[in-house]
């Protein structure tokens, strides 16, 4: 199994981002996803910056994928997506059917992101025809789903693409036209002042009785718990997961990577007490 660094979820200042990725060049990574996938207003780094970072990773033998926006609303965002798809250097991660269609029209291979809503073999076959080479499985799908899919694929005699599972990070739960960070600060989205930059790991939201519940990240809502599948890598391998996705966090990322490398090497890994996401449950991370 290979380790990937997922696309950055949060908005970090330009220099912080560049320094963070300069360190990441030395981490034991197989794949890196670069680019903005949450909010088109976040422009500390432009496409040229991401491409330059991509070149640096590629020079070190790391596979580079450019992630695209999960929610595309404006014509300008669609134009930006076209530029990304036509970058001529790296594959893209399609996080919306718009990106799939642009790749299909240009006969370009792509990685399917976790927001594509692939729930069954037929959907996967169609996306394979369109150029899908790897699928990051949707967040509410886990081990049982993957095994079910494999059984159905085998019966149908259909080859499957590579699979990637989110193994570390807060799970993205929802996207909106509304910016919840701006709302929490009493601002409109168009005048947000890019204040999400002040919350490098998102803005915590708790229930009225103080139970930590969700993370607000601009137009995205995430789980509060950090999903941690490190203690379960053997199970992931057995289910046919090819790539483990680790989502970037501002601090402590080298330790996260070292922990997953140790797990892959067969070391027993202590459970950190974080959420297991959907890998076992098949849903209801909070269900009591």
């Amino acid at each position: 199994m290979r380790l990937s660094l997922g696309p950055p979820q949060y908005f970090w200042p330009r220099q912080f981002t560049l320094d963070w990725y300069a360190q990441a060049l030395n981490w034991p990574l197989d794949i890196v996803y670069l680019g903005e996938s949450v909010c088109s207003r976040r422009r500390e780094l432009r496409l040229a910056d991401w491409l330059a970072l991509g070149d640096a990773f590629a020079a070190r033998g790391v596979e580079v994928v450019l992630s695209s926006l999960a929610l595309i609303e404006a014509g300008s965002e669609l134009a930006q997506l076209k530029r990304l798809v036509e970058n001529d250097r790296f594959r893209i991660e399609a996080n919306d059917i718009s990106a799939v269609q642009l790749c299909r029209e240009r006969a370009l291979g792509f990685v399917g992101g976790p927001t594509l809503n692939v729930y069954n073999l037929e959907s996967l076959r169609m996306l394979r025809d369109d150029g899908l080479e790897r699928l990051a499985i949707g967040i509410e799908l886990g081990r049982e789903w993957l095994l079910e899919l494999r059984a159905v694929a085998q019966a149908a005699g259909l080859a499957l693409p590579e699979f990637e599972a989110i193994a570390w990070g807060r799970l993205p739960l929802a996207w909106s036209a509304r910016c919840f960070t701006a709302r929490a600060l009493g601002l409109g989205k168009d005048d947000c002042g890019f204040r999400c930059v002040e919350h490098p790991d998102g803005l915590p939201l708790a229930t009225r009785e103080g139970q930590p519940f969700l993370r607000i990240n601009g137009i995205q809502v995430q789980t509060e718990e950090v999903c941690d599948l490190a203690p379960h890598v053997e199970e992931l391998r057995a289910a046919g997961v090819d790539v483990l996705r680790l989502y970037p966090q501002a601090q402590g990322m080298p330790e996260v990577l070292a922990r997953f490398r140790a797990a892959l090497a067969g070391d027993a890994i202590p459970v950190l007490g974080h959420g297991l996401g959907y890998w076992h449950a098949g849903g209801g991370a909070q269900a009591i």
Binding site: A70, I97, L141, V152, A184
Partner: protein, 332 residues
Amino acid sequence: MRLVCPAGSPPAFRAALDAGADAIYLGFRDETNARAFPGLNFGEQDLAAAVHLAHAHGREVYLALNTYPTPARIAQWRTAVDRAAALGVDAIIAADPAVLEHAANAHPELARHLSVQGSATTPVALRWYRERFGIARAVLPRVLSVQQVEQVCAAQVVPIEVFAFGSLCIMVEGRCQLSSHVTGASPNRHGVCSPARAVRWEEHPDGSRSVRLSGVLIDQFAPQEPAGYPTICKGRYRVGENLFHALEAPTSLNTLELLPRLAAAGVVALKIEGRQRGAAYVGAVARVWRAAIDALARDPTGFAAREDWQQALSAHAEGRQTTLGAYQRGWQ
């Protein structure tokens, strides 16, 4: 513009018909549709009767098959498509590629509408669904501003239907796992958001009430304070020092004042949300929109949203409040 109204039961269907709906959408009594609530929806006989009645009045029936089947459950959704075709409905509303593909192959004469659960927000995404499945119409997610709706319509990829009124999903439809995260039941897989079995109300000695979803406190209400159904996106939470409706307050979408603009943009159908609501809601809301659409057709330049229409709609709105939602930039 066609008026597309919801029906979760035969009485609601009759109310929509009597109030002047051009088309009525409904679902089977199972997880193949996104309002899979106990006691709601249509059995085979009820549905056959509804189709007969609608056609006798020159109206249409759309069947929602807008959930996403997992690999082993695909046969149930295919059968649902076949049943819809056999019952003679005028269109299916679907999101999952496997469901749309089966419909296109097995029943090419049955119109296919892309559900809002398909999350298609751009002309490019719509092109994929048109080229793949020959969709005849698409319902846009409630995330676009009115200018963006106009741009999607102007691209003329497929005829466009938009939400006009009803409870407001504030997240991109088809990509919201809030209910899934807390209750294990998701709109995509199970056709439900905040299932009733996960809801627990508590009355306190002082007359206040609190409501939990799978144990998570969604909100508390003072004595006499109106309390709505606990969807996660409409709860009150703490962010920093503030306690407020951090995502959205209980409110309904109401686009009555945008009607001329949506018509000018070329929107072909207006959708009323609310298959979980009763006949009184459906009848009252449909009547207002029928009157408004007819008034606009009679006098396109002199249209104004009448105050009594707005009051009638507010009376049926969640929390008795309405909003233009994402259609208006300020909401975003």
